[in-house]
Each structure stands twice: as structure tokens, then as C-alpha cells.
Subunit: 163 residues, 2 copies
DNA sequence: TCGGTCTGGTTGAACTCTCAACAAGAACAT
DNA sequence: ATGTTCTTGTTGAGAGTTCAACCAGACCGA
């Protein structure tokens, strides 16, 4: 079983450098948001997704898709947001299983207050340190990675389907 | 306070695409390791760092640096790894406060068993989907981001130092 | 119409991480 | 010496995530 395609020294450098940068970056953003607005980035993204939806409301499943979140995680998170008064849940009219999360005015206000600090952090740590050419590259790299993962997911689905 | 430099539509696309790609990628890697080797990626990285150290042992503080981890997180993690029998902790000879974590033979064996699957996942989802030019870009982008964050940290340190 | 299956969403337990508080030794000044 | 300060590492509590199990409604074929 030695047919593993190990990473070369150069590949290791790239991979570790990338991982380090991403870890520090997301940690920085998360800490900023937690400190200044009392919420983790995952919750911020839920509020953003809701704020951009018509009526500021989305079904849980659509919200999960928008936030790249599992149903379970989202369910717990929305429970917490509801306790804070930033979101309310109501039944879905067209599907009695469904549940719709809606951003409250208070939630919107909290989001408005949190946004400047978060956007500033993203700009300073991402856009201000990269050249336009690097941003273009980053766009392509992200797209390629996502495509690769989409393929992987399809493959997993196919495997599951076989059994 | 409207002097926030908001993101343009294009910048938002880049940022969201990047975030999505990274989230899905790390989730994929984490799930693979958890499923196939019963450990999260953070623990895998601890084992790797120890395996590369002389004597397969490192002081907790050095290990934390190597893993980009907080002392607290590392302490909890090593406690768990010790319970699994993959790591042992012993006192540090030169500094009586210190604590040294050492990889056991069993821990090394577990790491050896986990590595092929993890490396394969990284290769397939990162190196196989990017061109050499993109990899070169990624290297530069990672370096730029880390430099930016280093500056930010220095700034924070300076602020703290002022009070 | 009825049984089987699939989908949407929630829940609880186990696990991991964060944060603040703490203990103890080192470093250093007076 | 002695007291202050810094560093090292651990701990406990609280918060967030994951996973498996579950219920209920929708969907679909006989």
C-alpha cells in the first residue's frame, strides 16, 4: 500500500503555509466579531443570509444551504439566536414539516452594528494585502477547489447510491 | 461613522467564494480524518509536529507554536491524546514549570496509519485541482496574508503595551 | 388507500474550543 | 533576600459543533 502520492517538500511548504494563513485569518475574524459584537462568525453569516432574503426570512433548509451549514448546526444556532431575540421561527405555510427563520428588527440592528467592524477586518487582512492580480488568482483558485470538492461529493453520492 | 470601506460586489464575490472553498475543504479533510482515523485534524497536526521533533518530544509551549494553537486548547487536546495512549507527558528537566509531550510508539503507529488517507485527500482536493501557476500564486497569497496578520498582531501588541 | 421511502427539522449526548482564573516556577529589580 | 512581574501550563465553565437517533409530514408505487 505504498502507492500513496506523498507531498514533495515544496508541496508541503505550500500546504502548510496555506493552512497557517487560513487558520490565523479566520481566527482573527472570529475573535474580532466575538469581542466587538458578541457572536461567532457562523452566527453573523446566518444574520447576513437572512437580511438578504426576501422578507428577511428563509426556510431552515435554504438557510443551511446559504450558510454551508448542516441542518443540525443551524438548528442549534437558530435556537440560540432566537433566545437572543435576533430571529424568530414560524411554521411554513406550504409544507407543514417546514420551519421558517425570520430576522427581527433587533437582529437587523445588531447586524448593522456588527458589519462595519467585520468588513473592515476582512478588507484590512485580505483585500489590502493582495494585489489585483492575486485577487484574480484567488478567485480562480477558490473556484477550482470548489469544483474539485463538488466532484468529490458527487463521487460519494454515487458510492452511496451503489449500496 | 460612514467611512467604512464596504466591499464592492466583485470583492464580495471573491471573499464569499474563498470562504466557501476553504470551509468545504477543511470540512472535507476533517470528516475524512474523523471517519477513517477517529481524530480531528487539530489532533493529527499535534501528532505530526511531535513526530518531526527530535526524540519525538516537544515542550507544550513549542508544540503550541508549531500547531498554531492556544495553550489552553493544546492542554485539553494533549490530555485527550494521553488518555488514548498516543502521547505521554513528563516533566521538563531544565524548567520545573515546563511539561514535555512525547509521542508514544502507539501514537506513531496511529499517525502512520492515518497519514496516507489524509495526504491523499489533500492531494486530490488541492494539488490535483490547481495548476502549477496557481500553486505559485497560492504560495504568495498565503505569505501576504500571514504578513498582514503579523502586522496586525504587532499592532495589537503595541496597543496593549501602551496601557 | 395503504405501506414504504424520502425529506425537513429537532434533539441530546459526546466532543472540542474559548475564555478567564489560577498555581507555581523563573526572572529581575531593589 | 524579597517582592514584583512574567512565563508556563492546567483547569472549569460555558459556548459551539458533530453525530446518531428520532418524529412528522410529503412523496410514491402497488
Amino acid at each position: 500500500m505504498s502507492d500513496v502520492r506523498w507531498l514533495s517538500a515544496e508541496e508541503q511548504r505550500v500546504w502548510r503555509g496555506f493552512r497557517t494563513a487560513v487558520m490565523k485569518f479566520t481566527e482573527h475574524l472570529d475573535r474580532q466579531l466575538q469581542r466587538d459584537s458578541g457572536m461567532p462568525m457562523a452566527y453573523y453569516e446566518i444574520l447576513v443570509a437572512l437580511s438578504e432574503a426576501p422578507e428577511r426570512a428563509l426556510r431552515m433548509s435554504e438557510l443551511a444551504l446559504a450558510c454551508h451549514s448542516s441542518r443540525s448546526r443551524l438548528s442549534h444556532a437558530v435556537a440560540k439566536l432566537e433566545k437572543e431575540g435576533w430571529v424568530v421561527r414560524r411554521a411554513c405555510a406550504s409544507d407543514r414539516r417546514g420551519s421558517v427563520a425570520e430576522l427581527t428588527d433587533e437582529g437587523f440592528a445588531v447586524l448593522e452594528a456588527a458589519a462595519p467592524g467585520h468588513v473592515t477586518a476582512v478588507r484590512e487582512q485580505l483585500f489590502d494585502v493582495l494585489t489585483p492580480a492575486q485577487l484574480q488568482s484567488l478567485r480562480e483558485i477558490s473556484a477550482a477547489m470548489e469544483n474539485g470538492l463538488a466532484g468529490e461529493c458527487a463521487q460519494v453520492r454515487a458510492e452511496i447510491g451503489e449500496f
